[in-house]
């Protein structure tokens, strides 16, 4: 079964290029332009992984992650955060919101594909991400 990835970014060009890259890599892609839309989509159909931008209108990436963590259905979905901010995110925030990776913009689409594969493999092989998130 193809893994389903939810892509969230308010920059249309980023959504477009990442969708294409990940589709070409064989993933099933759903996109959202802000946190609220992403939350609704994730609740409707729980994705295997979420890639979200940090800074977005209405609801930041971090707020989205925390909201997903609160919801039982989406609590265990691993998240990759993209950020264009000049400084590192708080480690506690990352751990408490199931954020597995933080990637600074500008990023390489190839690198994203590699990270996504790594995350999804980790999940199918040993369920390690689940254990890790609970420990965190």
């Amino acid at each position: 079964m193809t893994a389903k990835i939810l892509l969230v970014d308010d920059e249309a060009h980023i959504l477009q290029v990442l969708s294409l890259k990940l589709r070409n890599a064989g993933f099933d892609i759903v996109t959202a332009v802000d946190g609220e839309e992403a939350y609704e989509l994730a609740c409707q159909s729980v994705p295997d992984l979420i890639i979200t931008d940090f800074q977005m209108p209405y609801m930041t990436g971090l707020e989205l992650c925390c909201a997903l963590k609160q919801n039982e259905a989406t609590a265990e979905v691993p998240i990759i955060m993209l950020t264009a901010r000049g400084y590192a995110l708080d480690a506690d925030d990352l751990a408490s919101c199931n954020i597995k990776q933080v990637l600074s913009k500008p990023f390489s689409p190839k690198q994203i594909v590699a990270l996504v594969s790594q995350q999804l493999q980790g999940m199918t092989h040993d369920g390690g991400t689940k254990g890790h998130s609970e420990a965190a």
């Binding site: 294409l20 209405y58 993209l82 901010r85 913009k105 990023f107 689409p109």
Partner: protein, 489 residues
């Protein structure tokens, strides 16, 4: 004493000899020898007394003179303070010597005392001046200073400290810190420092002090340095506490961090698009010609966005730093407005919008930089077109304001309007109205640059009136004559 004893002996022997001689003479005088024993004694006594008187009167007179001379000498010496020579009888010299040395001793002692008094007066005056100097220095310091004694009582403090810790400077001297200083942490620090008896290092700590009441209540950040003062016995003579206000520094540092963070975000966003699309092209992920063309177009658009962003950032920082090149000349605002309206026309037509130009039939010339003013007009027009839905209307009008001797330009649209909470922040760097981020792309720097050009470069004014859902009206005014306004500003 010796002279006195000699004189008595001489007097005694002279008297005895005189009496013996008188007795011998009387024995030869017939009528007298026939006198009775008693009469004999009376005559001898009377004659002796008369003889003695004849001897003693001149001696008494001489003594009296000597005494008067001595008195005069003593008086002269005391008054004149000059060592005049003494011409008295030799036998009085021991008395004069001891009197003179006594006078000399008193004189020396008086001189010493006078010198001491003078020294004390000078020292007192110096101390007074020093105290005034210390007071002046303390009050001109931007740092707060509090000096306390070993009993934790205030010895000295300045206005800055009084203001920072909210106590009245008058009446605080010689009062215990518990009465004067409200901040418990600072009281504790002073006591700890005093008890530590550590003279070597200056203890510096960060401390926040809450000031003001009610809505005006805010926190000020201080660096507090405490050091012990040593007294003459090498013991703790007190503590000097210095309060350095770092609130403004921290605010500026925070603002700078925010700016760098925002600028970094704004620069990285187009850059990440460019990088991703270039990588896709290089890796051959764009399967057909159409996709490739689209990728090229996106890369071009994002590169332009990056370029605009950098230009705007540089322009703002140049104006802020006061190093911008200004080409000041007579500018016809009407022609600038017409040119800007023509430039924006294609964008407006794409959205089926009308751009109306209403120019007052008077001369609208200002003294300013034409390129910069054109940038302001174009920016406001471009915003109006971007944030107004299709088939809307944008009106640019210009008129002269004779009262303020300036030209007023306004750009009104039938667009989305701006939420009231966003209005005060609209001209901030990188600020963008949340709801509009999806409507159109922008750097968040356009309006900030407009404000800088109008207010900093041209001494004009810029503002906005808007109601949510009812459109917005951006306006700016630029003085016709630059020189007068510059002087007034």
């Amino acid at each position: 004493m010796k002279a006195g004893r000699t004189a008595s002996l001489v007097l005694l022997s002279v008297t005895t000899t005189f009496i013996v001689a008188l007795e011998a003479c009387l024995s030869f005088v017939k009528p007298l020898s026939a006198m009775s024993e008693t009469m004999h004694l009376v005559v001898i006594g009377a004659v002796t007394c008369a003889g003695m008187s004849l001897l003693l009167i001149p001696a008494g007179i001489a003594l009296d003179r000597s005494m008067a001379r001595l008195r005069q000498y003593v008086e002269r010496t005391t008054q004149d303070e000059s060592d005049s020579a003494y011409y008295g009888p030799r036998w009085l010299q021991p008395i004069t010597q001891s009197l003179l040395s006594a006078i000399e001793q008193f004189r020396t002692r008086e001189r010493t005392l006078r010198n001491q008094i003078r020294d004390l007066e000078i020292r007192h005056r110096v101390t007074e001046v020093e105290q005034q100097q210390i007071k002046a220095v303390l009050n001109s310091l931007s740092d707060g200073v509090i000096v306390t004694d070993p009993f934790n009582e205030i010895v000295m403090a300045n206005e800055t400290a009084a203001e920072a810790l909210q106590f009245a400077l008058d009446g605080s001297i010689h009062q215990p810190i518990e009465v004067v200083i409200g901040d418990e942490r600072i009281r504790q620090l002073i006591s700890e420092r005093r008890d530590s008896s550590n003279f070597s290092d200056h203890h510096v700590i960060d401390h926040e002090v809450a000031v003001g009441e009610g809505d005006a209540r805010h926190v000020k950040m201080y660096d507090i340095a405490l050091s012990c003062v040593e007294n003459h016995k090498k013991e703790v003579g007190g503590v000097v506490t210095i309060l350095h206000d770092r609130t403004r520094e921290r605010e500026l540092a925070q603002r700078e961090t925010d700016f760098v963070s925002k600028a970094s975000h704004e620069l990285r966003t187009p850059l990440s698009s460019i990088r991703a699309y270039v990588e896709m092209l290089v890796d051959g992920e764009a399967s057909d010609e159409k996709s490739r063309d689209e990728f090229y177009r996106i890369i071009q658009a994002e590169t332009d966005r990056l370029g605009r962003l950098i230009d705007n950032m540089l322009n703002i920082s140049r104006i802020e730093a006061g190093i911008v090149q200004i080409d000041r000349q007579q500018v016809d605002m009407k022609s600038l407005i017409k040119r800007a309206a023509e430039t924006i026309e294609p964008q407006a037509r794409e959205k089926d919008m009308t751009v109306l130009t209403k120019l007052a039939p008077v001369g609208l010339t200002v003294e300013g930089d034409p390129d910069m003013l054109y940038q302001v007009i174009l920016n406001l027009l471009s915003n109006a077109v971007k944030y107004t839905p299709e088939s809307g209307r944008v009106t640019i009008s210009a008129d002269s304001d004779n009262l303020t001797r300036s030209v007023l330009v306004s750009v009104a649209d039938t667009g989305l309007g701006i939420p009231p909470d966003a209005l005060p922040r609209l001209f901030e760097k990188f600020y963008r109205v949340e709801n509009y981020k999806r409507v159109a792309k922008g750097t968040g720097l356009g309006l900030s640059l407009c404000k800088h050009i109008v207010e900093t470069v041209h001494y004009g004014q810029i503002g906005i009136e808007s109601k949510l859902g009812m459109g917005s009206r951006f306006w700016f005014s630029v003085p016709m004559r630059y020189a007068g306004v510059q002087e007034a500003a």
